[in-house]
């Protein structure tokens, strides 16, 4: 699954930490709720990447994230606009290996 937020690049720099906190909190909560245990997960600002072996849970996770973003009270959180995610899902074979770059950091 690849997800990014439409309009993220238009955010003022001072709003980005707040937005990231919200997005990460939302994704963490949804992961737990859906019982999705990803093989790999990574983020870069608004770009989220998740690899999982259970496509049903992943599909459910994607739709619930979409729904939460749609229902979020953006104005109350101090944002002047609403945000929506673009989410893509695909199934296929992939190689799993040790990521030495990220691994070294931990």
């Amino acid at each position: 699954m690849f997800l990014d937020i439409a309009g993220y690049s238009s955010l003022h720099d001072s709003h980005i930490p707040k937005f990231a906190l919200f997005l990460n909190g939302l994704l963490s909560h949804r992961l737990k709720e859906e019982g999705l245990n990803p093989i790999d997960i990574n983020s870069w600002g608004d770009a989220i990447y998740i690899a999982a072996s259970d496509q049903t849970k992943l599909a459910s996770f994607a739709l619930s994230v979409r729904q939460t973003l749609e229902n979020a009270s953006w104005e109350q959180m101090g944002f002047s606009r609403r945000f929506q995610a673009r989410i893509a899902l695909h199934s296929g074979n992939a190689w799993v290996g040790k990521d030495t770059l990220r691994g070294k950091k931990e």
């Binding site: 690849f2 599909a59 973003l69 199934s91 992939a94 190689w95 990521d99």
Partner: protein, 479 residues
Amino acid sequence: MGWQGHTQRKKGIIGTSVIHTARIEPVVNPGEVWVTDDFKNLLKDSRFAFDEIGVVSLAKQYGNGRLYRLRWEHESARKSFIASHSKTFNAMWLDSDASTIAEYAKKNSFFELSTQIDLWLYTGETFIFNCRQSLKSRDTALQMRLLIRRPEMDDKKLSMIKATIAAVQEIVEVNSKIDIQIRYYSGEPSIRMELFQDDTRGKLLIGAYRHRPMRSVEFVGAEDNKMIVLDYLESAHTYVKDIVKGRFEYMWNKCTPFRACLFDLDGVLVDSMSFHYAAWKEAIIRFGGNADALDFCSDVYSREGQKEEITARDFCDKYLIGKTPPISEIIKAKNEEYDRLFHRLSVFSGCYELLTRLKSRRILLALVTGSPERVATGIVNKWFPGIFDCIITGSDVERGKPDPQPYLTAASRLNLTPRECLVIENAPLGTDAGVKAGMQVVAVLMNSPLNEQCLMKAGASQVCKNIVFLNEYLEANFR
């Protein structure tokens, strides 16, 4: 914050499936989840449903893929773009003189439903005239931006644009809810969007294609220069909308109204190029050189704007082979001859009127010439007294054209940014200098032996045949 509890972060997943997914995500409609055939086929759960989107061009020219919109089974199927947006449509970005789009938009009441409309039209008249009555009587607010291309191109175009502007004024006078802004530009459109009706299949298609000078038309998201037929309108629209919107914003921002006009002198305001040629020829003859080979176009006109020291040095190397006169002596000889011919100089007809008209509109005027101060001052005092707010001559700068220094110095003295300055040039070196200074350059041919392509190649955004066309261009851009 974070999701450490759910990850095995030292693992990495790689493969074409990962790349494939990454190429889908940028083309997904915001607020939607799109899946591939492979994902759909594996998802055997009755809680989920799919709407077929069709074959979509993936990002980064990754190819095409058949995609489906994922939704909960209890959610209603999303309608086609036209159906789903017809009630909430609030903006449209269009580029074209294609009346097909105008008619289609009218038929589907896009104008009535939109609150913002950006029109990137060849003439602008199609939309304005088609919807004049509905705009006049509209009772909800509308912001419209109209980007008009090449107003100075020809008389017919100009009269159409003038009529369009008159219609716009008429609309805004009777309906205060309508706000229409107009800007002008002269560059070639790089992207066009068109809407196609395929009667045989009963489907509507929107396509974008990229215009590239000297190249064939290239369709965005196409292979082998053939447009991909998209089964659903929304996927095509989504794909091209961002491109066209981005391009529109780029052009709109680029068309910042100018606050100053920076004029070159020789060949633009003063019909002096043939006298410069005669004077250089005489100087070469005086020092025993072969002046017959001195070419008006390639030697004199193409060097116009260059500092005299550099031109003299070049001519010395080329036409005074074996002679070694001091460069200062060659320049002195050239200027003596030029001074002798000075009484025969004339200004181009209509120049003075053009300058005074601009001045009356509070447009700042600068003269930027490679000629020495003595010559430039002589011309200004004789024909243009009190006209220029700033005069930059070859004596004022270390580096002459094609270096941007002369134009940047003028902008600095006028306390303006380069984007606020429009340069009027006649020669490639001067055009190059203006472009390097970050300014838009309009070239004017007057009686130049150079052709339009030569000046366009140097970076001119527009080439006007003569002062009449230059006047029309400036009239449009300094409204």
